[in-house]
């Protein structure tokens, strides 16, 4: 799989906040291709499920990664989500997009992961360093000077840490909408709440991040 496969790269909001049209289908309704694959799987042709896995694995994996911050755990969680989606495929009502349903399962898997982690912190000590020190973001342009690059990395690590410290609902809303470019309605469908609730979570998350990052950004500006 190529790193920048346009069929699997998630959409992100542009500066205007609009979501670009490219990427895997992520609308509010079930796409014809997904419907066909799902019906074939339910008729017993389980090999067709690979189509769905190939179509959504990148976004499911990256969604889990941006919430938990570890590639290997995110890989396992997203795979578990695909297996769970397959097991409960008969319950899928085909009224919403398969991706919406799948990402909701991914969120539930991540929630369970955090619960397990809270109960048994020693089990995850190996990935703790990875979780806390690295950023889930990488710059498109690393920076013209080493100083710029270092500042970029520090800011990305700080933002990652601050996002992870947000309450879970605010964190999820922020990651889905601001980081992965889901629309408000889609974020609401994935989170299982109303768009107004998502807006409230986003507002609180943005305020917390603004208050925490403003001194850092002002200091950086003064130094320049």
């Amino acid at each position: 799989m190529s790193r920048n496969d346009p069929a699997t790269t998630p959409k992100r909001p542009g500066p205007s906040g609009k979501v670009p049209a490219a990427g895997p289908p992520r609308g509010g309704t079930l796409s014809a291709a997904d419907r066909e694959a799902i019906e074939a799987v339910l008729r017993g042709d389980i090999e067709r499920y690979a189509e769905l896995v190939n179509r959504y694995r990148q976004t499911a994996w990256k969604l889990a990664y941006s919430l938990i911050g570890n590639f290997e755990d995110a890989r396992e969680l997203s795979q578990n989500s695909f297996v769970k989606a397959y097991r409960h495929l008969r319950r899928f009502r085909k009224q919403a997009a398969f991706s919406t349903w799948l990402y909701r399962i991914v969120l539930n898997e991540c929630r369970d992961f955090f619960r397990r982690k809270a109960r048994q912190p020693e089990m995850f000590s190996l990935s703790k360093l990875d979780d806390e020190e690295t950023s889930v973001f990488e710059p498109a342009d690393p920076g013209s000077t080493p100083r710029d690059a270092a500042e970029n990395r520090a800011l990305a690590a700080m933002l990652t840490k601050l996002i992870r410290q947000l309450p879970k609902q605010q964190q999820t809303a922020f990651v889905l909408h601001q980081v992965h470019g889901f629309s408000l309605e889609e974020t609401a469908r994935v989170m299982g709440c109303r768009a107004g609730t998502v807006k409230a979570h986003l507002f609180r998350a943005m305020e917390k991040l603004r208050l925490a990052l403003t001194p850092v950004l002002e200091k950086t500006r003064e130094e320049h």
Partner: protein
């Protein structure tokens, strides 16, 4: 930093900073691993069972119990009138009234009334039949020949 400035700064920053791409080495075998797991019989699609959500189930059971209780309370036969004799006697005694009550005759009268009332409550159909018959009798008696 003002909220509007912050908003535009963050959007622009997120446009320039993507979530890390998954290393190509980690991607190999992803789909095959999922497919191997779903081919296992233990992961076969589960059958859909109709199940009420918990709160709906609790509400339904509660409503059914309340209805049953209401029906029992409404249809409960009244206490026989003969049980009131002692109470009445005590009330009269408290009020200083003479207690010369012919209780045996009273008991007999009340028992007859009880029989009628209880029969009406327990066997509504029979009582209705009786009333219908009486009505019919009246009509026959007063119908000019």
């Amino acid at each position: 930093m003002r909220a509007e400035l912050w908003d535009s700064w963050l959007r622009s920053w997120l446009t320039q900073h993507r979530v890390r791409e998954i290393p190509a080495s980690s991607c190999s075998g992803y789909t095959q691993e999922v497919m191997a797991r779903i081919r296992h019989p233990a992961h076969a699609p589960a059958l859909v069972r109709f199940r009420l959500p918990e709160w709906q189930a609790a509400f339904t059971v509660g409503a059914a119990l309340a209805c049953a209780l209401l029906v029992l309370l409404v249809n409960r036969p009244p206490a026989p009138l003969t049980t009131h004799i002692e109470q009445e006697r005590l009330i009269l005694a408290d009020a200083g009234k003479p207690q010369k009550l012919n209780t045996s005759e009273l008991v007999e009268q009340l028992r007859e009334t009880d029989q009628f009332i209880l029969a009406k409550t327990i066997e509504d159909v029979a009582a209705e039949d009786l009333l219908n018959e009486l009505k019919q009798l009246d009509e026959e008696r007063f119908t000019p020949s």
